[in-house]
Every structure is written in C-alpha cells, then in structure tokens.
C-alpha cells in the first residue's frame, strides 16, 4: 500500500459509522453463529442502509450466506444452529421471542441461488404469498400479479402464459418470477443469495438491471461470488473471510482503495 490516497478518517472510524442512524434499515450487533458447535460467524457488526444495494463478497465458506440467512431467520430451520447477538430491523430485535417469524419473513423477502418456482402456474406463483395472507379477491390479485411481474421486468414476456406451469419458463425467467413473487408481498427488504450464479450472461445482466431498478423502493442485500457484479450493482460492499467481517465500506472505496491487506488480496485475485 502506498502512502498517498489513504483516507485517514476511514482508518479511524468503525466502518458502520459511515451510515447515518436515520438511514439504517437493519443493523447487526455482535452477531455470532455456530452450526453444531462449529462457528460460522464471529462477532459481526454492520449496518445496512435503507434503499441501497449492499453486497457481501468473500471466498466460499466465509459465512456471507449464513449472515444473509440471519436477516430473515432462515437459519432457524437448520438443526443445531446457535446464535448470539442482535439483529435489529427498524430498531426491533428480530430474535426476540415475541417476533412472529412468518410476519418477519413477509417484511424481509428472499431469493435463492437456484430458481425455485413452485410447481404451479405463473399466476399462482406470484399470488402465493398473498393467498397465504388470506387475500382471495380476484381483481386485487390480478392487479398485484401484473404490477409485480412488471416490476420484475417479466410481464411483457409472459403475459400470455400466466396460467401455464412456471416450470416451463427458462432459468432466467424463473429467477425473475421468484423476484416478482418476493416483491408481490411488498417487503421492506429483499435478500438475494447469489441470484445469478446459475444463469447465463444475458439473464445475469437482466437480473442486475432489475436490482438497479428495485433499489429505489427496497433495501437490497446481495450475496455474490462475482466481484464485478458487486462493483456494478452495489452501493455498499462488505468483504468477509473466515466468518469475520473484514471490511465494510462504500463500494467505490472498497474496490479502489481497500484499507485491509486481505481485502486487497481478494479483489486483486491474489487470494486463493
């Protein structure tokens, strides 16, 4: 690291302090996680800004997906999963006992690595979350389905195939359908767990454009393997390694001027 261009401020403050309190959608405090005694996350502290895209990068097994799954309590489903610390969504700890997990997951939607549409029609896939909430009015459902599919940039492609099986769509279309399904229930936050890793380059591009569109309305957190993707779509980037948060900063700064040696090694490809 050369001596010039170092932001002394950045070295002296803790990374999450760069975000103003009022802009924080979710904050993680001293979060540690272990599976059957094997630690996966160690004392993570981090603040996710509202209506921005935050990317988690890092080598395989660094804990970025585990961290993401803490935000909607998906880890609860794993046997032998133990967690300490707090995750505050709009200043409420989502791990406190009075929280209704279903309610939480409606507020924090999630899109998985592999497209996982249900074996139903396109329409029913998008309406699924609404039906779960007890909505059955046909007109209202029609409206929301159309709106969600338009938001997911899928409407024009499949408006004539709404009642066909969703499994007949291409991989990219399926993933955008899953995004439409997620935003149909109007969440505050959307978690994307390597959403483009199983897609071809063109589909990936479409997903990235979609993320860019969506960030005006939703807080987005994306886990990705692909550093170019993180650089393209995100406002903030967190680099994780071995269960620790190594560096968290604005994407520009993290990629052009990383403060940590590990980060630099990783983004320049020197890390194995």
């Amino acid at each position: 690291m050369s001596t010039h261009g170092i932001n002394i401020d950045a070295l002296q403050r803790r990374p999450w302090d760069t975000i103003q309190d009022a802009d924080v959608a979710l904050s993680v405090e001293d979060l540690s996680l272990s599976y059957n005694g094997a630690p996966a996350l160690r004392e993570i502290n981090l603040r996710i800004p509202r209506r921005r895209v935050t990317a988690f990068i890092g080598p395989s097994g660094c804990g970025k997906s585990s961290l993401l799954r803490c935000f909607n309590r998906m880890n609860d489903l794993m046997d032998g999963c133990q967690l300490t610390g707090r995750v505050l969504l709009e200043e409420q700890n989502i791990y406190s006992p009075e929280v209704d997990v279903s309610q939480l997951r409606r507020r924090v939607g999630m899109v998985f690595q592999k497209p996982n549409p249900f074996p139903m029609s396109v329409y029913e896939n998008v309406a699924y979350g609404l039906r779960i909430q007890g909505m059955n009015k046909r007109r209202r459902l029609d409206e929301i389905v159309e709106k969600s599919l338009r938001s997911a940039a899928l409407w024009d492609e499949i408006k004539d195939r709404l009642h066909e099986n969703a499994l007949g769509l291409s991989g990219g279309q399926q993933q955008r359908l899953v995004i439409a399904r997620t935003i149909a229930v109007e969440p505050e936050m959307v978690l994307l767990d390597e959403p483009a890793s199983s897609l071809d380059p063109i589909s990936t591009l479409k997903i990235e454009e979609l993320i860019y569109e969506l960030k005006s309305r939703y807080t987005i957190v994306i886990v990705t393997h692909n550093m170019q993707q993180a650089a393209r779509v995100s406002d903030m980037t967190a680099f994780m390694n071995l269960g620790r948060l190594v560096e968290y900063d604005s994407t520009d700064r993290l990629f052009t001027n990383p403060r940590q040696r590990q980060t630099e090694d990783y983004i320049t490809g020197r890390y194995g």
Binding site: M74, F112, K114, N116, Y128, G129, R131, Q133
Partner: protein, 551 residues
Amino acid sequence: MRHSLTAFLSRRGNRLLRLGEPMVWLNAGAVSLSMIAVLGLLGLLAFHGLGYFWPRPVALYEMGPNSRVLAERVSVEQVDRAQLQAAGYPLPAGAGDIARLLLKRGNRDVYGTDFVWLLQHEIVRQSFPPDALRVEREEWGNLYGFLEAVLRDGEVVADTASTPEATWQRFNLELERSRRIHAQIRKLEQEQIAGISRRLERLQDKRDSPQFRAEYAALESDYQRALRKLETLYAEDARHAYRVRLADRQLLTLPLGQVVRAVRPNRMSLLEKLDYYRERVWEFLSAAPREANTEGGVYPAIFGTVLMVLLMSIVVTPFGVLAAVFLNEVAGQGRITRVFRAAVNNLAGVPSIVYGIFGLGFFVYGIGGEVDSLFFADSLPSPTYGTPGIMWASLTLALLTLPVVIVATEEGLARIPRSVREGSLALGATRAETLWRVVLPMASPAMMTGVILAVARAAGEVAPLMLVGVVKLAPSLPVDGIYPYLHLEQKFMHLGFHIYDLGFQSPNIEAARPLVYATALLLVIIIALLNFAAVTLRNRLRERYSALDAG
C-alpha cells in the same frame, strides 16, 4: 508359451469385463426370461379360461349297439398300458400307450357324474349328429340328448318324429316365454317381497306407535298379493315341459322352467358360435354363480373385490400419508424415528395370515363386538358388526398395506428439494402452510405410487380375507337400493377366494377347472385395470408437479 490357468482366466475375465458385452447379454437374458414367464402365465390362463366359453361340438361315441355316449370331448391323454392292465381293463394285444378320452357327458341327474373316461380303441364309431342338443340347466348341470317333443299340461304339442323343425322352433318359443316368466318371478322375489320384509323388520322397532297396526296390515296384504301373484307365475311355468332322448335311448321329460340356454352346437354357424360365445362371456361377468359356483357368473365376486379394494384405499391413503408426514416432516430425525421407520418397514414383511388373525381378534371380535353391544344390543345375541364383513376385511387389508403407502410417501417427501420449501417459508408461509400448499401436492405422485402398490397387493390377497369376511356364496351384494345402500357389515365374495373355492373346494372338479382359469384371468385383468387407472392418475399428477425433474 506357458501360462498358468488362473492368469489366463483373469486376463480373459478382465477383457470380458472391459468389453461389457457379456453383461449386456446377461441383463437382456434376465429381462426376456421374466417377460416369457409373465406372458406364458397370461397365455396359459387365457387359453384355458377363454376356451371354456366356446361351443364345442357334441359327438356321439358308439362302442357297441347298446353302448353309446353323447358328449363333448374335454381332453385326450396317453396312459401307460401296464397301468391300465393293472387296473383291470381288458386290452388288445400290442405295445405302446393307450389313448384315453375325457368326455363331458352331462346328465348328472341320470348318471350321477358329469364326466366319463373312454379308451380310444373301444370306440367303434364316432359321429356328430346335427340334432344333438346341449341344454344348460339351473340344476344338475348340462344335458346332452335329442329333442323328442314339447309338452304343455302333459300333452304333446309338437314332436320331432312328425315335424322336426317346427318342434325345435316351438321349443325355442316356449323357452322364450318361460324366460320372461322367470324374469318376472325374480323381480317379484328380489325386489317386492324382499322390500316388504325389510319394511316389516323396520316396523318392529315402532311396535308401540299408533300407526303400527294399520301399517302392518297394509304391508301384510301387500305381501299376500305378491305371494298370490308369485304362485300364479309358478303354476304357469310348471305347465311347460320338454321330452328328450338320451344317447342310451332313455326318454326323459323335464320342466322347461329349468332351462337356462339350449343350443344345437353341431348346427351352429361361425356367427352363431360367436354370438353364443359373447353371451356366455357376458353371463360370466354379469351373473351370479349357480351350482356350487361351477356354473353361471362371478359378478358378485368382481363387485366384492373392487369394492373391498376401494374401501381399503380410502382408509389406507390418509392414514399412510399422515404417518409419513409425521415421520418425515414433524418428528426430529433421531434414534426413535429411525426405530419407528424400521418397525414400519418390517410390518411389510409380516405374513398376511397374521394380519387376518389380528383382524379377526381386534376388528371383528374386539371393535365389532363393542359396536354391537353399544348400538345393536336389540338384535343380540345374533351379531351385526361382531362378525366378519366387508368393512373389517377392508380395514385388515388397509393395515396390511399401510407400510407400503408410508414408505412410498416418505420417499416422495424426502425427494422434494429443500429450496422449494425454503421458497415458501421465505414468503411468510408457516411450516403447515408450506406442507399443505407445496409439499403435499408435489409428493402426490409418490403417494399414488404407494396406493398403486397397495392396491396390487390387496387385490391379490386371499388368506387374511378368509378370516375376516369372505364367503363362498354371499346371498346379496353389499351395495343395493335399500337404505343405507352400503352395507358394510355384510359378508362378500372375492375373486381370489372364488379361485381357491372353485379349484380346491368344488364337488365337481372337472366342471370347475376351466372356471378356475377364467376367474384367475379375470382377477389379473381387474388388478391390471385398477393399476392402470392409478398409474394414469399418477402420470397426470406428475405432469402437473414435475418440479422434481426440473430441479
């Protein structure tokens, strides 16, 4: 060149293994052997079973001037000469085996048996008289002879000696009339009189009510009227008779009302034979059995088999699915669950007769007895549900097939990708909602597989049924037009047991043998049809929920 044998063989073996060719041949051989076995079985059943309904020619065998037999040839076999000699038959000189014919002579009322053996060399002359008559009767089996005359009130109205063709036509005319009378009698007996007696039975319950006397009198007079009508019909029927001459020139006069069907097989054209064949196959499928099950049809057995299998499926499917969901979704995957699962799997290996004994002890005597003492105390000591019946049989078979459904459903549940469940949970669905809306629909093809296997197993099961509800001859079907329409406490007939009964319990083995084949073929076809229906349903479900192939 000196190679040891083992080295040679191992080199040789390695080369064969590498080629893979012998393996392909072995596989193909195993498959073809199984196919041949299955097709051979079906072919055997079809050959013996379907041939039975074809009208065989009736031959007149003459052994001497006063020794004649009019019969259908059933089979020919070669018998060892020494064996016959030892049995005391006078044989001509010579060597080699002797041909022996098995003939269906009929006329059991006259001769005592239906079948007779004849040595080929004793036959002097064999002919196929065109007028030979074959009569199927309600009692005493077939009659073979020549039509002599048609009688009414003991008077001859037409006789073959003067007007042969007119007599045959008159015979058929009277037969038609008698059949109509019989249809009326059957209707009267089964519908009207049975209905009246049921209503009388129910009337007994409200013996104290004021209308009792009036209603009773009305029913009583209905009953008397029906009875009088029945008497007139019987009297009308009894007026008609026919006279036949047997092969040994005996004359017999028999009531026309006993005739089911009369044909002259030697005169039938191919078209008539086909029509006759169709008629008899239809009778086999649609009529009740006669003559200790050796004649007539197997409709009650078909009905009983299908109804029992359906009832069983209705019971076993929800239970099996619930158990599988519990084992796979609800219970933690620990040691206890593993023990449970092993126990369930082992249940599939318990011999079926054990289930029969359990069903008899637990369902019939235990639950059935309890039900009787609680709800049917009036009719005790004669049991209502405390006796073998179709419901207990269905429950016993449901128990027997439960492991199959559980195992198949569990496999289906386990194959559903985690990502789909997570997708549903991530949208705010609870585990129960996810199970109901996504997981169970996706596992439905696997459940159908379980039901298919269960049906296949249950339809072919006989041993436990003999203890919990199957009978040789059920007086009525378990479903009829009388409230409550489905009579679950009744005993029923079953094709599998029917086969056993025909083959091993029949007083007239030779007569029953072709029916054993025909019934066995029918059972195989019915199981195949039930399976086909279930497989079609499963394929439709698979098309809808094909996520497993896509993911």
